[in-house]
């Protein structure tokens, strides 16, 4: 509706500024979006970030490399394993360390479990954003089991610091492997349940189908990554683009959407959980006894001067780390390609023309973690 359109009884319409956040349950953290609406339609959206900026890239310039792994947990705290891995891969390129076979498999298992845990949180909270509470309870029951597995392996439930330079912190025992298999067997039928409960629920479909469309061209122009990019039909996955940790040995598919709407982005994540299950099963099958820590990693590593870039497929997208070393015990410069930060930028374009009631549906479907947006 435009303000020039005549209204009955001599009424006038005007634009209204609505402040969404920074304290709002559906912004999943501290994100503020300044919305200008006209009637029910958004005409301008200005995302405002930085409320959680902790300057971790600066902090790293005075921390040793093993300490940076601890910092890495705090970016995307919902998939901290992927963050650990991303930093370790970059640092290992500088240190030229070989990672043993068993550690590679353990890294893959942990990262895929973490991807499942992260997507489950998305699945649950996205339901809540749209008014479906039941899915949340189901998702958190399963996520709890994954967190229990992590607790068994490294003692932490959220910030793991499990993947270390040269390998992993500690080997897992037979009880852990049995429990992991048990979880996979429990989880597989649940995926079907999720589809019945939420994915093909008519009310949910009404709220998400055709809402917040991103064309493939737009998604590439804004450099979206992860399920946001694949939801628009662009098949780009760092695990296939530049396989790391032996991902080329696993047989898995990269699910892509068609329309690039909220539902496609949502369903890409659900399908990714299917693929993660496949990868975990294969990795557990391939795992052989052996060391879990590479040789030659000093307590205080001092890589020779050089630059490295490593990227992994995190739960939210293409997570990259650009490391510059100048021979000191701490990185000279560390830059994180944070997928949430880059994915969020498209909001200013895609919210325009959408209904006010769909803003939350769109924001939720982008699936951001503010710890990673602000770093």
């Amino acid at each position: 509706m435009s303000s020039t359109q005549p209204l009955p009884h001599g009424l006038k319409s005007d634009q209204l500024f609505v402040n969404l956040g920074p304290q709002h349950p559906s912004t999943h953290g501290v994100l503020r979006v300044g919305l200008t609406i006209e009637g029910e339609i958004v005409v301008k959206a200005v995302p405002d970030v930085g409320y959680l900026h902790r300057g971790t890239e600066k902090l790293a310039e005075l921390r040793g490399y093993p300490q940076c792994v601890v910092i890495s947990d705090r970016w995307d705290y919902l998939s901290a394993m992927n963050n650990n891995l991303m930093f370790c891969l970059a640092a290992e390129k500088l240190l030229k360390v070989e990672v043993p076979e068993r550690a590679q498999h353990l890294r893959v298992v942990m990262c895929e479990l973490n991807r499942i845990a992260s997507h489950l949180l998305f699945f649950g909270t996205y339901g809540i954003d749209l008014g479906a509470f039941t899915a949340f309870l189901h998702a958190f029951r399963e996520r709890e089991m994954v967190l229990d597995l992590f607790e068994m392996s490294c003692g932490a439930r959220l910030t793991y610091n499990y993947i270390r330079l040269g390998g992993v912190m500690k080997d897992v025992d037979a009880a852990w492997l049995a429990k992991c298999r048990e979880f996979i067997e429990f989880f597989k039928p649940r995926l079907k349940e999720y589809d019945d409960l939420l994915s093909f629920n008519p009310i949910f479909l009404d709220r998400t189908k055709g809402v917040g469309r991103i064309s493939a061209k737009q998604a590439v122009a804004w450099a979206l990554s992860g399920p946001n990019l694949r939801g628009s039909g662009v098949s780009y996955d760092a695990r296939k683009f530049e396989p790391y940790c032996g991902y080329e040995k696993y047989d898995f598919e990269v699910p892509v959407g068609k329309d690039g709407d909220c539902w496609d982005r949502y369903y890409c994540r659900v399908l990714e959980m299917h693929q993660s299950v496949r990868i975990i099963e294969a990795a557990l099958g391939m795992m052989a006894e052996g060391p879990v820590m590479g040789k030659g990693v000093a307590k205080v590593p001092k890589p020779p001067p050089g630059e490295a870039y490593a990227h992994v497929e995190g739960a939210r997208g293409d997570l990259g780390c650009h490391l510059v070393a100048d021979g000191n015990a701490s990185p000279y410069r560390m830059h994180i390609r944070a997928p949430s930060f880059i994915n969020l930028a498209i909001l200013q374009e895609m919210l325009v023309g959408e209904r006010m009631s769909d803003v939350i549906a769109i924001l939720g479907s982008i699936d951001i973690v503010l710890g990673e947006v602000d770093r």
């Binding site: 310039e61 122009a221 450099a223 021979g327 000191n328 930060f341 880059i342």
Partner: protein, 189 residues
């Protein structure tokens, strides 16, 4: 497309492009002779070579080891020691052979999603000023990333539609990721 083919194609079209003395890992890393070359090179990469995806824009300040006054706490990593205790970690020192210089080095990473190849472009800007052309016209993804560099490094991008701070609070003085940044005490310290 292989790394060598890409290198040959770019060096033929732009004789000024040289391989950077410090490459980013195994990736093809090219140094731009001056800021004016950026837009033609990027246009060529995007239009003819299929690099439609701007992976990342970042920068490195090559002034030298970081100024410790830029941090709020003493460089005392053991949190159980009292404030002001002797620093346990050694402060970063200059290493011989590293090209420290009075420059901020911008790094762009572009991807060809179908060809499965990445290329890194580097450009030195003088620390005192100097502008780089903005890539917002080519890649919308440059929007926030250039704002981030403006905020944290003070790099100015010509032609950016909305070059304002993005991550640090309004009261932050200076650009925190510059190596000579000195932290100004504020009411949160």
């Amino acid at each position: 497309m292989t790394k060598e083919e890409l290198k040959a194609a770019l060096e033929k079209a732009f004789p000024g492009l040289v391989p950077a003395s410090q490459a980013v890992g195994d990736y093809l890393t090219l140094r731009l002779p001056d800021a004016a070359q950026l837009l033609p090179v990027v246009t060529c990469l995007k239009e003819t070579l299929g690099f439609e995806y701007l992976d990342m824009v970042t920068a490195t300040d090559w002034l030298g080891p970081v100024n410790l006054d830029g941090f709020i706490r003493e460089p005392n990593f053991n949190v159980f020691l009292p404030e002001g205790a002797t620093a346990q970690a050694e402060a970063p020192k200059k290493t011989a052979g590293v090209e420290y210089r009075d420059a901020i080095e911008l790094v762009w990473c572009l991807s060809n999603l179908k060809g499965r190849i990445k290329v890194f472009l580097k450009l030195d800007l003088p620390r005192g000023g100097g502008k780089a052309p903005s890539l917002v016209g080519h890649y919308k993804a440059a929007d926030w990333q250039e704002r981030e560099l403006f905020d944290l490094f003070g790099v100015r991008f010509d032609g950016h539609p909305n070059l304002v701070k993005i991550l640090t609070p309004d009261f932050t003085v200076g650009h925190p990721l510059r190596k000579d940044y000195v932290h100004q005490k504020d009411r949160f310290d």
